[in-house]
């Protein structure tokens, strides 16, 4: 038994040694053709450089603005961002992260822009710049169908679920005597609602529609909160990109492409 193990070990070392030898030879032969190859590499690198990368930070759990379809992130924001990138001659790269990390990522330069159905608020403006708005939205209240809550005043003293860091979170805080439960994901708050763990969820209208459609026994309260505008967040010191995006957005609006993208995902009632 012991001998067998020893033999196996020896065999392993020998193969390792052999492969090391052949590796060395390969390296030697490569050196000869090195000159021609580096030239090619440089060409490729230059081609890549001309196609700059535009990194977009988002939270892909927010249908229909951004969500996973198969392995890809799709939605209104994803398509608008792609159109902007195309307009600027850049390649788009989407990074999916927690919603409350998006502004921080943009402010610290980890991402070039934040496109996540993000409302312009004063607190956010202190840390990032916003482009011109590209869509309007409202905050709505999702309830269970058998709920007794009739209007937004009825939320007083109830337990309300929100997604951490969203405008719904800020609204919920202002309701008197309310218990706010901050979930990392919007759909988790909706899940908790349909399981009876909380009384209501405050979230943006369009995702709310999708959530109510997909979960039985939920409804949207008729009374909505104020209208707000979605815009793209860009780092404070990157005014060049801000202007470029604004320019691209204006073109998209004029050509009707923007409405086309939004209309593709949101059907007017």
């Amino acid at each position: 038994m012991k001998k067998q193990v020893l033999a196996l070990l020896l065999a392993c070392t020998m193969t390792a040694a052999l492969s090391a030898c052949s590796g060395g030879q390969e390296a030697d032969t490569e050196e000869g053709s090195d000159a021609s190859q580096t030239e090619e590499d440089e060409d490729a690198a230059q081609a890549e450089e001309s196609q700059e990368v535009l990194v977009m930070a988002t939270n892909a759990e927010f249908p229909p603005y951004e969500y996973y379809d198969g392995g890809e992130i799709v939605g209104i924001d994803a398509e608008i961002a792609a159109a902007i990138a195309e307009n600027l001659g850049m390649t788009l790269e989407i990074e999916d992260m927690a919603f409350d990390s998006i502004v921080t990522s943009v402010a610290t330069g980890k991402a070039d822009m934040g496109v996540a159905g993000m409302t312009v608020t004063e607190d956010r403006l202190e840390n990032v710049n916003f482009t011109d708005p590209y869509a309007t939205a409202t905050q709505v209240v999702i309830l269970r169908e058998d709920s007794e809550i009739a209007d937004t005043d009825g939320l007083e003293g109830k337990t309300v679920g929100v997604q951490l860091g969203t405008t719904g979170d800020l609204f919920a805080e202002d309701i008197p005597d309310v218990t706010v439960e901050r979930y990392n994901k919007g759909f988790e708050a909706v899940q908790a609602l349909s399981q009876g763990k909380i009384d209501a969820v405050i979230i943006d209208q369009e995702p709310a529609k999708v959530f109510v459609e997909e979960n039985e026994g939920l409804k949207i309260l008729d009374e909505a909160y104020t209208v707000e505008e979605y815009a793209i967040a860009v780092a404070k010191d990157n005014t060049e990109l801000l202007e470029q995006i604004n320019g691209a957005l204006a073109e998209l609006k004029e050509s009707g492409k923007l409405d086309e993208i939004i209309g593709k995902y949101i059907t007017a009632e």
Binding site: T104, T108, L164, R182, Y183, E188, A192, Q195, G196
Partner: protein
């Protein structure tokens, strides 16, 4: 320096944001405390069953059940277990989130404590068991009066380590919207968009808690060592 003061003000003083940290700390300590108790009780029970089976061959069925428990709990991440307990097992029952978290972390910790406990019991020479039995003690009395006290002393460092891990693992309880220490920092971060101060403050508080706890374990170890002389 002024910048720091401003950042400190907006992160902790403005809107009484420090309350998120303090309340969160309370929740973290509460969950950890009760989870540790569940972990110890469950862990020692499972550990004793497992080592009894190993030493005497009895409790075959119980041992099999314990093995399944260990495999499942140690084979899946605690975050997934927490979400399963909250959203699947307690799907229709309206239990408080704290209870769900205490159960999740307690049951999780129990699996690790069980293995620590078993290793402690197995580290005591089988001669001690034989000696106890020949003196007329029953198996369980030998376990309780002779083996466990010695085993406990041997596994104290490992146990202390497990509880440090547990304390830090509770940081994932924000996933079920529980406002523990980490979530408290996250809420501040979502308001001020300043990553630095909230994260550092949270980290320092965890560190201090762990340091106090380790010190306590060291003192206990030293106290227990006195009997060796």
């Amino acid at each position: 320096m002024r910048e720091f003061q401003e950042a400190f003000y907006s992160n902790f003083i403005e809107d009484d944001r420090w309350e998120y940290i303090v309340d969160g700390l309370g929740v973290t300590l509460k969950i950890t405390f009760f989870a540790v108790i569940i972990g110890i009780v469950l862990g020692f029970l499972v550990g004793i069953i497992r080592s009894t089976y190993e030493r005497t061959g009895k409790l075959k069925i119980l041992n099999a059940i314990c093995k399944v428990y260990l495999t499942v709990i140690r084979g899946t991440p605690v975050l997934v277990q927490l979400l399963i307990i909250y959203f699947v097992i307690f799907a229709s029952a309206n239990v408080s989130k704290e209870l769900a978290a205490v159960i999740a972390f307690g049951v999780n910790s129990g699996a690790y404590v069980a293995e620590i406990c078993r290793s402690g019991i197995m580290s005591i020479d089988v001669g001690q068991l034989e000696a106890g039995r020949s003196l007329g003690f029953s198996y369980w009395k030998t376990m309780w009066y002779i083996i466990l006290p010695q085993a406990l002393k041997n596994v104290l460092p490992a146990l202390g380590n497990e509880f440090i891990v547990l304390l830090k693992e509770t940081s994932v309880s924000g996933y079920i919207a529980l406002e523990d220490l980490t979530k408290g920092g996250d809420i501040i971060r979502s308001r001020t968009y300043d990553p630095f101060l909230p994260l550092i403050a949270v980290a320092v508080i965890y560190l201090v808690m762990v340091m106090i706890f380790s010190r306590f374990v060291t003192l206990l170890e030293r106290r227990l060592k006195q009997s060796e002389r």
